[in-house]
Symmetry: C2
Subunit: 457 residues, 2 copies
């Protein structure tokens, strides 16, 4: 069998760093959300780019699928070996290779997590801002084009990856981008690779932009009488140029779940949670300006925090909202939706979604990154109730239809994986076919994470 032949060859390359143990296969066959376990045939633990090249070359010779794995926090089954083959676990490629403080960039291996990087950077006055909540690897974040709470200020992985080393489907390693801040030198291969979910190449090195740690940070939380009022306050804040580092939304159901989980006492209303980065004077001014705007839109219970503990408590609450939602229905699985719309359509999109979920038989608290127009419903269902699963999928599909009708996208930051493949044709039309053309040109044997992003005939 072709996969067996590949594995025999890989054993000689990697020795005991090619694992076929049951526990390893099971660990790499799991998903964070609702996808059934899908173990690979083997797990490879390369330590160098040359070893990644050797793995891909062997797999290419035998037509064996190659699936990259960071820490498995993806929400759409990106790292599942749906056609079997070898999962490449990057946990042994976890070095920070260069910190270029003057240039505010860093060169890392793909297995470095964002928290590990920020610990390493602590003394430099710099930090890496992209924060999807989970302590994902930077390789994984690049491959899903991740973002999170800070994108409104610092951008997504698209904006913060300057260059890559990538092992192609034939095993050659190429470099994309440079350490220069900008370039007009040919096609943007870095941008093409970011978000390609391992289907065009395996990333073995990343050059990332860093940002200065803000001199001062303040955070604020405020309740609003309606989602529309909260969104209007956000639009006014953005248009007045008040620079927000984070601006997050939670709906009444999420506020209730958070209260139950964390013992907080948020009123069961729509809330905004904000953070400002700058100087002592500017963050105070920003918070004051936001407060005035919030007052205009019926905001209440405005509270702001400049102390580290208070801020940490606020953002821990926000980051734990995912677990709070899960805990609100013990034992349930979650289908996490991820639509993103133009901000002028956000209130409409959230309200329609809430109405839809209210009429359904399963709960679905809503929270999101309101500054980007991106929000998630956590659709909670019991796996042993097929009707609930169908209902979650139906609600999710209706959310995507809504996003596309309103000029948005099926996924703001979670990616396609296997979970959203069914929406690609509707979202992209003939452009999806162009993605397929590119995939065929770069991976003619379809060995790189097959079954994700594109469909090939």
């Amino acid at each position: 069998m072709t996969i067996d032949a590949a594995l025999t060859e890989l054993s000689t390359v990697l020795g005991n760093r090619l694992s076929r143990s049951k526990s390893d296969l099971a660990l790499h066959g799991r998903s964070e959300t609702y996808f059934p376990p899908t173990p690979p045939d083997a797990v490879a633990y390369p330590e160098t780019t040359a070893e990644v090249s050797a793995v891909v070359q062997a797999c290419a010779r035998h037509g064996c699928p190659v699936v990259p794995w960071g820490v498995g926090t993806s929400l759409e089954g990106h790292a599942l070996a749906v056609q079997g083959g070898v999962t490449v676990d990057f946990s042994r490629m976890d070095k920070v290779l260069q910190v270029n403080a003057e240039d505010m960039d860093v060169v890392v291996q793909p297995g470095v997590t964002r928290e590990a990087l920020n610990i390493e950077l602590r003394a430099t006055g710099l930090f890496f801002p992209v924060d999807p909540g989970a302590n994902a690897t930077l390789g994984g974040m690049a491959m899903t084009r991740a973002s999170g709470t800070t994108a409104v200020r610092y951008g997504t992985m698209r904006d913060n990856v300057m260059g890559l080393e990538v092992v192609l489907a034939d095993g050659r390693a190429i470099r994309t981008g440079t350490r220069a801040r900008k370039s007009s030198s040919g096609y943007d291969l870095t941008g093409l690779m970011v978000g390609s979910e391992g289907t065009l190449g395996l990333v073995t090195e990343l050059t990332l932009k860093l940002h200065g740690q803000p001199e001062a940070i303040s955070a604020a939380v405020c309740a609003f009488p309606s989602m529309a009022a909260a969104v209007d306050a956000v639009i006014a804040t953005i248009q007045l140029g008040v620079p927000m580092a984070r601006i997050e939304f939670v709906d009444p159901a999420t506020a209730a779940a958070v209260n139950a989980y964390a013992g907080s006492d948020l009123p069961e209303l729509p809330h905004l949670m904000l953070e400002f980065h700058g100087s002592d004077a500017s963050v105070a001014e920003d918070a004051a300006r936001f407060r005035e705007i919030a007052d205009d839109y019926g905001g209440s219970g405005f509270d702001w925090a400049t102390q580290v503990e208070d801020r940490t408590a606020l953002w821990t609450m926000r980051h734990n909202a995912h677990y709070a939602c899960l805990a609100s229905r013990p034992g349930a699985r979650t289908l996490v939706t991820d639509i993103c719309v133009p901000i002028s359509k956000l209130a409409e999109a959230v309200e329609e979604t809430r109405t839809d979920i209210a009429a359904a038989t399963i709960p679905g608290p809503i929270l999101g990154h309101v500054g980007d127009g991106n929000f998630h419903a956590e659709l909670l269902f019991y796996e042993d109730r097929p009707k609930e699963r169908d209902e979650a999928l139906r609600l999710s599909e209706r959310m995507v239809d809504r996003a596309l009708r309103l000029g948005g996208t099926s996924t703001g930051e979670h990616g396609i994986g296997v979970g959203k493949l069914g929406y690609m044709a509707a979202e992209h039309g003939d452009a999806w076919g162009v993605m397929g053309d590119i995939k065929r040109a770069l991976d003619p044997k379809n060995i790189l994470n097959p079954g994700k992003v594109v469909r090939l005939n």
Copy 2:
């Protein structure tokens, strides 16, 4: 002949909007810099996407090259029909289609110039910030991944194009991106098209990010004893997080040229010119903080301007520096170099370049976008002196070698066109071949702006 057959067919589609007049061909065969005139066989003036599709379909049937044209301000011969064929002039597709003020985006046709767009936006409180100096079309700016003086704050075209409508090599029109602020939905085709110089498709519509017009603007100019001192001041300013909207460098030769051209009295020293955007209080604070930093690095003659007239005078001087350099050697042509390096290497790159030019027989004033590490030498030579032309090309090649050695790129913002094709292999290695693979997949007959960006065998 294949081109003739295509032209016959195009005449029936476009009528008298297919021009073969000598003056039209000559106008579309010229370049802003040192490339010899290269007229196309015909110029098409489409008015709709459907007409662009029809043009491309006819050209595809007959293997006739198709070359897009904005207003011809490119510096590397991008829009020259080096293999003949049809130049598609987008001047009749110059409508602003939608201004979405709440979402801070705009949908435009490719022939809209950046100044025309900003005039249209004046009453909205919004503006489009990318400013390459020339009043280029937005389609052309997207295709060369242009940037300019404001990139340090607002980014390049890569950062400000949200979506495109593109006519592919087979005539189909696709849409890339959405009006959502971010997306993880498949390969970033928008990013792939931006900077592709018309070799992968013709852009027929652009969705662009807008930004709030700043409440207050201040500008400053300051002389430094050396390039190294000026760059160190810039690095300190960036690391302290002082938000600059522009930070430009001119060398002593450029200061002299500007003095002669504009009657100013800049000391013949390295200068920085800066602009700050924000509130009245913040721009005053930013300028004061910069002044302190400049003092630390030996800055002198610090002058700052909050009045519109004074600012306009400063930036007119900067924008006219290109013409001032040309006027400093009457009748000369210019080869404008465009390397970009990590900022920690900028002083070294500029100093080595100055030494190199000082030892040469032609002048080459230096100016640039110091916040991005991007600078230009204007290598001035007489066309009837082949040795001078060779010297300009040799200096340019040495600059590129230097940029690559220092971790940078051959072109920060001008693009490849025909002028920098010879540096692609050195800059990209095997990644250049990947660009060729993508080109072949999307334009198998090589009809879209052939001879640019990639080399196909």
